[in-house]
Symmetry: C2
Subunit: 146 residues, 2 copies
DNA sequence: TATTGTTATACTCTATAACTATA
DNA sequence: TATAGTTATAGAGTATAACAATA
C-alpha cells in the first residue's frame, strides 16, 4: 500500500471544486441565468431585500448590484418595489418566475446531494463530514491569517 | 448522535469550493495576475504551446486566448515566438518572470497542502482521499450523463 | 479546403468616482 | 452629515463572425 501525500488530498479538493463549477455552469446554460445573477436570486430566498444589503452580502459594490438587478428585471425574475418607510431604498422582489428559479435551485441541490451521497452509508458519511469540517476549519484559519 | 444527511456533505463541498476560490483570489491580488492568466501560465508548465492548443485545453475560444496572451505579454510573463515549422502558428513561451510565477504557484500549492493535511495522520488521510475519489467518480459520471 | 490567429463587435461582471434624492 | 442608488467611465473575460496568411 502506497503512502498518500497531503498534495494528493489537495488535488482532489481542487478537482471537486472544478466539478462544482462545471455543474453550476450547466445550470446557467439550462436556466439562461449567469452565476452572479443566480447568487443574487439565491439571496432573495429570505424575502425582498434592499440593493445595499445585497451588495454587502455578496461582497460586491452597490454599483454592481444595480447592473445585476437590471439584468434580472429585464429577464423577468425580479421587480424593483418601493421600500415602505425609506424612500431612498428599493426592495428587490422575486416575481413568480424568480421564485420558481429559486425553488428549482433548491431542488437541484438536494437532487445532486442524493445522487452523490445517497448510497454512502451512515458511518462513512458521518466520517466524511467530520473530515470536511476539519479541513474547512483549517482552511478558514489560514485565510484569516493572511 | 444525529444522523448526517447527504445535503450536509454537499454543503461542505460547496464551502470548500468557495474557500479554494478565495485562496485563488488572494494569489491573484499578490501576484497581480488574474485567474484566467494564471490558468494559461499553468498550462505552459510543459513547455511552449500554440494558442490553438491552449484554447482547446482551456475550453475557450481562440479569440479569448489572443486577449489573455496580449495581457501576459504586456506584463512580461510570456513572449510570442514563431513556430519552427508552421508559419501560421505561434508558440507562447514563458519568460524568466513567467517561469518564476509558475514555480511560485507550485510552491504555494505544496505549502497549502502541508498546512491543511500535514498533521492528519496516515490512515485518516488515506481514508479521506478514498472518499474524495469516490465522490469525484460519481460526480464525473453525473456530469457526463447530461 | 482546412487551420491559425487576428480584427470587429458585443455582452457580462467588476471597480472607482461623482452625483441626486432622501434620512 | 450620512445613506441608497444611479450615471459615467474603465478594464477583464467571454462569445460569434468575418478575414488574412499559411498549410
Amino acid at each position: 500500500m502506497t503512502a498518500r501525500s497531503a498534495t494528493e488530498a489537495l488535488d482532489r479538493i481542487l478537482r471537486l471544486s472544478m466539478l462544482v463549477s462545471a455543474d453550476l455552469a450547466r445550470y446557467e446554460r439550462e436556466s439562461g441565468l449567469t452565476a452572479a445573477r443566480v447568487e443574487l436570486l439565491w439571496r432573495l430566498a429570505g424575502g425582498p431585500t434592499t440593493q445595499r444589503a445585497l451588495a454587502a452580502a455578496m461582497e460586491v459594490t452597490p454599483r454592481n448590484v444595480t447592473g445585476l438587478v437590471d439584468g434580472l428585471v429585464a429577464s423577468g425574475h425580479v421587480t424593483r418595489e418601493p421600500h415602505p418607510t425609506d424612500r431612498r431604498a428599493i426592495l428587490v422582489t422575486p416575481t413568480a418566475l424568480g421564485s420558481e428559479a429559486i425553488a428549482g435551485l433548491r431542488a437541484s441541490h438536494a437532487d445532486l446531494a442524493r445522487q452523490l451521497f445517497g448510497d454512502l452509508g451512515r458511518d462513512r458519511l458521518a466520517g466524511f463530514i467530520t473530515l470536511l469540517d476539519e479541513t474547512i476549519a483549517r482552511f478558514s484559519a489560514l485565510m484569516e491569517e493572511s
